[in-house]
């Protein structure tokens, strides 16, 4: 495999919220801890985790749109340089783009065309949007519609179009296919695959492992605010090639692998166990799991588990 340039490198990212209790107490809720993801140019990386694991916050952290009461820790490198808030503000919408979950993220009172052009009316923006719409087989009349008038098939393509108005080098897709049937999902995913094949890095945030395995190059498994494993898609072909017990549990839960579920639920951020967050549900649990767990390389992937080898 030829060496591709790293476009985004997230090292030990943490996001916490300050919450005020009754009286004067203040607790910091660590919603994300020790999140590590790396995306190369032309690569599609899926971050897979169940709901409540803090996936959307990852997208918001990279774009610099976290709520004001949140505190961001760790390092985000974009193109080898630290991605500061100022740089995020300069790059977002142009080099770094977000594709949201649904048309609810579009202004209900603004027509599609002007909205995608961000209100710009110059002929260059218009021409560019016309070309994008052509590429996605959207009729030009769609530009004159309001978001509520879009059909289900159109609004995915419209949302992807918003990303294409810039010159995206990093595309973040946050649960782009909620409640869609498989045929639609494949079509939407093909749009993202296309973007990756054209050289952009794509970060796909999803709860659906099956979907991720179909299109992504690499999968980062996310559990209770932490990345527990970073593995190549082909490692998911068999249970043995996976490294973390949670990834293995996810694998076993896939329909083709027996639909088996493990007991228990993902812990709430306030009640996290010491050490490994998966500890209480893990069959290999031992005393050492309650200590700091390093994120280390195992067989070409990365894992946050002391017993993986």
């Amino acid at each position: 495999m030829d060496e591709k340039k790293i476009i985004l490198e997230i090292q030990n990212l943490s996001v916490s919220f300050q919450q005020y209790d009754k009286g004067f107490g203040r607790t910091d809720l660590d919603v994300i801890r020790d999140l590590n993801v790396t995306i190369n140019e032309g690569e599609m990386v899926a971050v897979v985790g169940s709901s409540g694991s803090g996936k959307s916050l990852l997208a918001h952290a990279v774009l610099g749109i976290l709520p004001y009461n949140s505190v961001l820790g760790g390092t985000i490198l974009y193109d080898g340089e630290e991605l500061t808030q100022k740089r995020k503000e300069e790059l977002r919408g142009n080099e770094i783009v977000l594709v949201p979950q649904s048309v609810a993220f579009l202004d209900p009172l603004m027509k599609i065309g002007p909205q995608i052009r961000k209100g710009k009316n110059d002929s260059e923006s218009k021409r560019k949007l016309d070309r994008i719409f052509e590429g996605y087989h959207l009729k030009q009349e769609v530009q004159e519609l309001y978001p509520f008038e879009l059909s289900g098939g159109m609004n995915r393509r419209v949302l992807v179009s918003t990303a294409m108005m810039g010159n995206p080098r990093l595309v973040i897709a946050d649960e782009p296919t909620p409640g869609l049937h498989m045929k639609m999902v494949r079509r939407v995913m093909s749009h993202f695959r296309e973007l990756a094949d054209q050289g952009a890095g794509v970060l796909l945030i999803t709860h659906d492992l099956e979907q991720a395995l179909e299109v992504a190059d690499r999968v980062a498994v996310f559990y209770a605010g932490t990345t527990v494993e970073d593995a190549d898609v082909k490692d998911f072909a068999r249970e043995e090639t996976l490294r973390h017990p949670y990834s293995k549990a996810l694998w076993r839960a896939l329909p083709q692998n027996g639909f088996q579920f493990i007991s228990g639920t993902q812990p709430y951020v306030k009640e996290l166990p010491k050490g490994c967050p998966f500890g209480p549900r893990c069959e290999y649990f031992c005393e050492a799991c309650e200590r700091e767990i390093p994120y280390r390389e195992v067989r070409g992937g990365k894992v946050r588990c002391i017993s993986a080898e």
């Binding site: 993220f105 202004d107 009172l109 603004m110 209100g119 008038e149």
Partner: protein
């Protein structure tokens, strides 16, 4: 087309019902009032020196002793034929009295309405966009203080400062005292309207500001503004593309609905500035048991307020594409 006709018919029926209810309520409140019209309007001393026949005549004039329901029905049947009756105090047709008073009031109301709407909208939108900053805190603080200030008190303070101490503006009335009607200039009228209009505007602003601010904050926290920011929009671009568009609709509704508040406020303010408008006439009619005039003013005011709310409703249909295009009605 048929749909619109149905809408208008429905609204017309609603308005009729409202006016009937309002006039009944106003009428029975006046007839329950302990004020004796003869004593109130002629005076105890004058009454004492009158003969029984004279008093009987006056009683008939003011309708004393007649059953309330009978008097109301007589008034209502005349009103339906377009005759609003004679004002007992002014001894002129009610319609004429209202026309004169309304002409005085309308400028006051219109100026206050436009100023409070425009300034309130701008302040509210600014505060909402800049939530949490000192700009927002200053605007919010001002609005809360004004919102808890009674209009009459504010009127008195303005009167003291500008009319009594600074002597910059007249103390009251709508035209200079002792001047012939022909000699009154437009500038005179403006000078006399400034203080009452200012009072009404200042008190009206806070309500509009606070509501617009709340709405703006909701918009700023919406998913579509979050996405707009993710796409690199900020500040003015967000206001121009999303903030204004989404806040103008509730603001317009509020603006038209606020006609009733301006109207209500004008009653007190006109009293204080002795401004001979509709509000003052309503007070005079109420205290003096001038039932035809009071009912006339009540019905006209109710119709205007209803009209304001109706316009607000219809604007929604015109401005909001979700309703206009008849798709998914909210």
């Amino acid at each position: 087309m048929k749909q619109h006709l149905l809408f208008l018919t429905k609204q017309a029926v609603r308005m009729m019902l409202l006016l009937i209810c309002v006039s009944i309520a106003a009428f029975f409140l006046v007839s329950l009032s302990p004020v004796d019209p003869l004593q109130a309007n002629i005076g105890q001393a004058a009454l004492g020196s009158m003969s029984q026949e004279q008093i009987a005549k006056l009683n008939e004039y003011w309708g004393v002793g007649q059953p309330a329901a009978e008097r109301f029905l007589a008034w209502a049947s005349d009103f339906f034929r377009g005759d609003m009756g004679l004002s007992l105090l002014y001894r002129r047709p009610v319609s004429e009295v209202i026309a004169v008073k309304f002409a005085n009031s309308i400028w006051l109301l219109a100026i206050a309405w436009v100023i409070s709407g425009a300034v309130g909208f701008c302040l509210g939108a600014l505060a909402g966009m800049k939530q949490g900053t000192w700009v927002d805190k200053a605007i919010k603080g001002y609005s809360l203080v004004i919102a808890s200030t009674p209009a009459f008190w504010l009127a008195l303070v303005l009167l003291m400062v500008f009319a009594v101490w600074l002597k910059a503006l007249p103390v009251g009335l709508s035209v200079p005292i002792g001047m012939e009607a022909a000699g009154v200039t437009f500038a005179d009228r403006i000078r006399h309207a400034i203080l009452p209009a200012l009072t009404l505007s200042i008190t009206g602003i806070s309500n509009i500001t606070l509501h617009t601010r709340e709405k703006m904050i909701d918009i700023m926290e919406s998913d579509y503004v979050l996405f707009a920011r993710a796409r690199g929009e900020s500040g003015w671009s967000i206001f121009k593309n999303h903030g204004f568009r989404n806040v103008i609709l509730p603001a317009l509704t509020l603006q038209f609905a606020s006609i009733s508040e301006i109207f209500g406020g004008s009653v007190l303010v006109e009293e204080i500035f002795s401004y001979p408008g509709l509000g003052q006439a309503a007070v005079t009619a109420g205290i003096g048991s001038d039932v035809p005039l009071l009912l006339g003013i009540t019905v006209i005011s109710a119709a205007i307020v209803f009209g304001g709310n109706l316009i607000a409703n219809m604007l929604y249909g015109i401005v909001d594409p979700r309703i206009r295009k008849g798709g998914a009605g909210l």
